[in-house]
Amino acid sequence: MPDDHAVDEPRGPDDRALDERRAPDDRVTEERPAPDEHAADQRRQRLADAQRGLLAALVAGGPLPDGFDPVRLRIEAAGLIAKRRGLVARSAPDLVIRLGPRFAALFTEYAERRPKPPGGSLGDAKAFADWLGLPLNPPPAGRWARFLRRRPIS
């Protein structure tokens, strides 16, 4: 599995919709004449289609795009689920405790054809809890947890 950082949503509301409302002209530097802007938009569109197709195969059960190594993509897809599972376990330790040894298999079953919902890993944990039909208890309060961490151990 590559680099294991917690790729997660930044705090605050998701503003992707806002960004998509911006005019395409905002997105290219002004030095280029209009025909090049059109070409630049087309290049963006082709890149968007290619990345969307690959990501759909990796996280949403979409068809495998031509030319990729299927074994590698299966390893990558499994790695993405393992990473989501780790982040969900950290966001909702309560679920891990309640599910015990069934946590990993159940999460994999949930995640295999369901891309990560909005709301970061807590959103993923809530969606997993909904799928299980279990209410999700809130995680321990951040301030208290931080205070405890800063106490000397002995």
Binding site: M1, D3, R11, D15, E20, L47, A48, L55
Partner: protein, 271 residues
């Protein structure tokens, strides 16, 4: 926006789980913090302690997806900028990767198609990010498990072109070079030959393990000798301004981390 090659020294990735450790470890010249894990208006106490001692803190973003088809998200850029300002950081870093496409989130750093066409899109993305940031930006090579069938350039060639066209700095992760060597057969030393080391901002190094012939770059073990050799090889070509240890889970004792920082210091001074 060319990063001035600021002397950073040897550092470690600050994690909430390691906060007291990082404060008391000897020989920590600088740290990096995952930008998405902090709020600039309410910095963790430990980072404030480090800043009060003059230890540089570099915000390291993992969710910008500058290699994506969408222009970089202005809210994510604003967050990186606010982190840099709150921490008085010398630079910020991110990855040459895409992390989402349309409505789908990968939740992880995925390699971009390394075509000339994708390069021209990503050059625009990088320029926009640079315009929004108050400090220089450095981009990191990622650990990939697969390549795109249409790839025309190696990752090193792609990064070289990106650096030449945008002046973006380089964060070279030698563990990621090693991962790509094991998993994709890409020669890490050839990559070092190609990468514009004169634009090196700093270096990442980390441990991992092999399973079934695949290298897993987990950041959970001591640095393997092969990865340390790559650091020495890089350092023999260009003295890195900084080298940072990434350790992300299964945290070891302070003594182990101190020994790792010593190994890094020795390898990166190798001539």
């Amino acid at each position: 926006m060319n990063p001035s090659p600021e002397r950073l020294g040897v550092g470690i990735g600050w994690r909430a789980e390691l906060d007291l450790t990082v404060e008391r470890l000897p020989g920590v010249d600088f740290v990096e913090v995952i930008a998405e894990n902090i709020r600039p208006s309410a910095l963790p106490e430990s980072l404030r302690v480090l800043r009060s001692r003059g230890t540089p803190v570099i915000p390291h973003g993992v969710s910008l997806g500058i290699g994506g088809a969408e222009p970089p998200d202005h809210r994510r850029l604003a967050h990186l900028a606010a982190c840099a300002q709150a921490l008085a950081s010398p630079l910020v870093s991110e990855h040459l990767a895409f992390v989402r496409a349309g409505d789908l989130e990968a939740g992880h750093l995925l390699p971009v198609p390394r075509t000339r066409e994708a390069l021209s899109v990503i050059v625009q993305n990088v320029r926009q990010a640079q315009e929004s940031l108050p400090v220089p930006l450095a981009l990191e090579n990622v650990a990939a498990l697969f390549g795109w069938p249409e790839d025309e350039l190696t990752e090193a060639e792609f990064l070289r072109e990106l650096v030449e066209r945008t002046g973006v700095g380089l964060l070279i992760d030698v563990a990621n070079l090693y991962t790509s060597q094991v998993n994709l057969g890409l020669d890490a030393r050839a990559a070092l030959d190609t990468l514009p080391l004169e634009e090196l901002a700093y270096v990442h190094v980390a441990g991992g393990y092999a399973r079934d012939g695949v290298w897993h770059d987990t950041h959970t073990t001591v640095i393997p000798p092969d990865v340390l050799d790559l650091l020495a090889e890089l350092s023999a070509r260009a003295e890195p301004p900084g080298v940072l240890l990434e350790w992300d889970a299964d945290y070891p004792s302070d003594a182990v981390l101190t020994a790792e920082l010593d190994r890094i210091r020795a390898a990166s001074h190798a001539r």
